[in-house]
Subunit: 230 residues, 2 copies
Amino acid sequence: MSEPRIVEVRQKILKRNDMLAADLRARFRDAGVFVVSLVSSPGSGKTALLEKTLACLQPQLRVAALVGDLATDNDANRLALSGAPARQITTGAVCHLDAEMVDNALQGWELTGLDALFIENVGNLVCPSSYDLGEGLRAVLMSVTEGEDKPLKYPTIFNSADAAVITKIDLAAAVEFDAAAAVRNIRAMRPGLPILEVSAKTGDGMDEWLAFLRSRASEAAVGAGPARGR
Amino acid sequence: MSEPRIVEVRQKILKRNDMLAADLRARFRDAGVFVVSLVSSPGSGKTALLEKTLACLQPQLRVAALVGDLATDNDANRLALSGAPARQITTGAVCHLDAEMVDNALQGWELTGLDALFIENVGNLVCPSSYDLGEGLRAVLMSVTEGEDKPLKYPTIFNSADAAVITKIDLAAAVEFDAAAAVRNIRAMRPGLPILEVSAKTGDGMDEWLAFLRSRASEAAVGAGPARGR
């Protein structure tokens, strides 16, 4: 369970990742691009939310997306339909993105030509929490179909996030979702964490989500937000 | 992305896990206990299916459950309501169970007093695939709410499984689930993999699931099933 050697090797990798992520964060800041990462279980609706988000933010904002999966480039193809540049990162057996994968995927993209970059992580509520990607905002999604207890059972990922997004709220009644319990569980892990509720399908809550993103992007642009590092 | 040292350390850990799992498998066989593990995304309904399964199999079969989570013992408490012995394994930051955790959790349990043992893994579609737990049957669950593409995007876990269970079929219409596409995607990864469809909520498909388990348990008991090792 706790092999001293793997812990030591892992710590070195995390330290190296942190350094690469700090470089990325500086590049994003210098280029004036606001970077949002999305983490969640598989099937929580990251891609659906991102499709809608990219469509709504354009053409006012110049946006792009990177999307991680173990296999297939299905999601990048879906996101590219929005007209925004989208690239797939296939991780093979690796259960999360890391800063080096992001750095490699950005090759050839002129960051100054972007206002916002979205990074969709591999569907996983555990592994992505430890890997800083240089993002300015990390949003953890949980769908109403997953149950209200996820923040209690996967505390680390909620602790690494800057916002929680409850997705698929159009299904809340069908699955007897207890929104008050979900909010209580999120708050138990992270008092004060902003919580948004959306349905990418019906559009409910999208205005609040987009306003939240625009507000955070503006704060970052004027340097009003605190410097950030995990 | 591919650090030679972590690959080497990981291979040693996996090899050690395989040896422990082989010991467990021999103990399970000698004790005549059929062991089923469940893997899936967080929130796919592993615990709900297991609650119903434990309730239905008793008292004809003597059953017990181990359940893994990063934090909380909520699931063991839920499962214990069935009257079956249930123990929680809390993994901390570890994204999967391993054979040593299972071995430790079995301390003090008389295996010969059991007919079947269920092991619910941490909710994760990536990490658990590499860790043999000595089980006789590994079932991968995917809920209709997660989308039909999961087998393509998480091939390794489908390749490590002995059966696929499509869960929450009561919600299929609400989420416009394309069952034919899901089955096609599973078959593309694993031709011939048994596929079951259940709703723990309505009970639909439970008879087939229970019959499948009983049939596999009987095969294992008479040694009709092939010796198994990952």
